[in-house]
């Protein structure tokens, strides 16, 4: 037996945290049981649901590609892409100037706060709701979708751009001020060059998300491939549904990959010797999404 350390004999008592954990778990269980009771869950529904779902997916194979091409589905998928592109452009054009007004290091508090709140409010409204509100005004069709996506993007892109502006090196700003330049010049020459790569990359990332959003907006008639999905589902024409899904997946994956590659090049070109910053960007997006600072 090692006698190196004089033992004070006292082993500490385990803290009472275990009790609190079980209490929390019980609370969760109660909440779940209460929720399930309100959901018209019956045993046979519960048991048959996975089977039904599997059945639907099984009947999608083989996908009816020929039929889909005849009906112009590829064109509709492309239409979704166009809608997403225009929406992202609208979002980009409006969000960038507003972001300058919202940034803490370049804008006074009385302008900054309302603009930031504006971004928050816009972000809180899902594109689908925006489209619902817009369709009575613009009529059905892709323009409603593009506008809905555009407005919503102003919120998200605005917030991301604001963070980018707040993160700049103040040196160039100081330099412009020292030469007696005006505020706008300071933004144009001191801030813009620093944030342009990151912001462009944010636009592309938003574009990727918006492609999915525009596909969804089609389901309420705002243009794009969503309407195809809905109409085929109504007729329970599952092979056609499968074709629509497959085409959408392919295009989305292609755009994701291309956009990721372009974003990497933009970031790499901007900071010599840096990595693509993908991890940093994802962390920024995560922080944005969750409000949690991940280390």
């Amino acid at each position: 037996m090692m006698e190196a350390y004089p033992s004070d004999g006292g082993r500490p008592v385990a803290p009472r945290r275990a009790g609190r954990r079980w209490g929390l778990a019980a609370l969760v269980v109660v909440a779940v049981v209460w929720s399930i009771s309100g959901l018209e869950v019956t045993m046979d529904r519960l048991l048959s649901a996975p089977g039904n779902a599997w059945d639907v997916f099984r009947r999608m194979a083989p996908p009816a590609f020929g039929e889909a091409i005849d009906r112009g589905v590829p064109g509709k998928v492309l239409e979704s892409v166009h809608i997403a592109w225009i929406g992202t452009m609208i979002g980009a054009v409006f969000s960038l100037p507003l972001a300058f007004l919202a940034a803490g290091n370049v804008s006074p508090a009385w302008i900054r706060t309302p603009v930031r709140q504006l971004f928050n409010v816009i972000r809180a409204v899902p594109e689908l709701i925006l489209a619902v509100i817009l369709i009575p005004i613009t009529g059905l069709g892709p323009w409603a979708g593009a506008l809905a996506i555009g407005i919503h993007s102003v919120g998200t892109l605005g917030k991301w751009a604001t963070e980018a502006i707040e993160g700049v090196d103040p040196g160039p700003l100081e330099a412009v001020a020292a030469t007696g330049g005006r505020w706008v010049s300071g933004m144009r020459w001191g801030v813009l060059p620093q944030i342009l790569p990151v912001v462009t990359s944010q636009w592309l990332f938003r574009f990727e998300i918006n492609v999915r959003a525009s596909a969804v907006l089609g389901m309420i008639g705002a243009g794009g491939v969503g309407s195809e999905l809905v109409s085929q589902l109504v007729f329970r024409n599952f092979p056609a549904v499968g074709a629509v899904l497959a085409m959408t997946i392919v295009v989305v994956l292609a755009i994701d990959t291309a956009s990721a590659a372009v974003r990497r090049r933009i970031i790499r070109g901007a900071v010599p010797g840096a990595d693509d910053g993908e991890a940093d960007r994802n962390a920024a997006v995560l922080t944005d999404l969750t409000g949690i600072r991940t280390p």
Binding site: E40, W85, A124, P136, P142, V241, T290
Partner: protein, 279 residues
């Protein structure tokens, strides 16, 4: 030597007289940049035409008489139990079930997807591929498919939101797992542990606070998502919005939206407060 200048500025004439090298020519902007810029611009214009870009909408939105349909909000209808409160409760229940189900499944999936914690290469590649394809499908497509398969209503809504919760949670949580400190894992393996105990003791305590925080966030998202889910018939408060929208009762729609945003705001504040204490 010329007399010193009156202002405090440096006399550039002295400096330039000392220069002997010739000035370099400015670098030409690479032609590729112009080509790319032109292509992007052309595409934007073409896409704009296809989509029916119509700038007049921007002021039409303000002046349109349809705005009258949104106002005034019929509070007596909105605050009636059956119309809004009960569907909201249903939304809550859907959100709870979906969060638990989706996030519960997301834990093993995210662990399987990370090179740090995956049991073997096959599981890693297979899970990643499935998740990548699944993520390429827009979330509401999933919802619509599940509603078709499982039937309309809150039950289907829970399934759809569970899938959505799974996707979001996996994306968020796998980033955390990837970034976790791998060294305790090495120590656990060196002690002779099997795979699951190694992951459980070596990495789980480190990532669990983030997991719970993300879970709370996903719950919030699920409440918000039920709004749009109703548009595909999957129950909850969204059902009310869709029904009123179809009757063109936009004033009721606005009333419901106001209530929902208030509820979401409150939940968000509570959730942020809890999350701050966790992480």
């Amino acid at each position: 030597m010329s007399p010193p200048p009156e202002t405090g500025r440096v006399d550039n004439r002295v400096a330039s007289r000392k220069t002997t090298s010739s000035r370099p020519t400015p670098p030409r902007v690479r032609p590729r940049t112009w080509v790319v810029a032109a292509a992007v611009a052309a595409y934007t214009v073409a896409a704009g035409r296809t989509v029916g870009f119509n700038p007049s909408t921007f002021w039409q939105v303000w002046s349109n008489p349809l705005w009258e349909k949104f106002w005034p909000i019929p509070w007596d209808w909105v605050l009636d139990r059956h119309n809004v409160i009960e569907p909201l409760i249903e939304t809550f229940q859907i959100a709870i079930v979906s969060t638990i189900l989706g996030c519960g499944l997301a834990l093993p999936v995210a662990l399987a997807m990370s090179p740090l914690t995956s049991p073997n290469r096959v599981v890693l590649v297979v899970t990643r591929s499935i998740m990548n394809v699944g993520r390429a499908v827009p979330d509401l497509f999933w919802a619509k498919l599940l509603v078709t398969a499982v039937g309309i209503g809150a039950f289907a809504g829970s399934w759809a939101l569970s899938v959505f919760s799974l996707a979001v949670m996996v994306k968020l949580f796998s980033e955390t797992v990837d970034g976790a400190d791998p060294r305790p894992l090495e120590a656990a393996r060196a002690a002779g542990g099997r795979h699951m105990p190694v992951v459980r003791t070596g990495v789980l305590p480190t990532v669990l606070p983030e997991y719970v925080a993300y879970g709370l966030y996903v719950f919030e998202l699920n409440i918000r998502a039920s709004l749009v889910l109703g548009l595909v018939g999957a129950g909850g408060i969204g059902r009310v919005v869709e029904a009123q929208r179809q009757y063109f009762r936009f004033d009721r729609v606005l009333g419901v939206l106001v209530i929902v945003f208030v509820v979401v705001f409150v939940i968000e504040q509570v959730s942020v407060a809890i999350r701050k204490r966790l992480v």
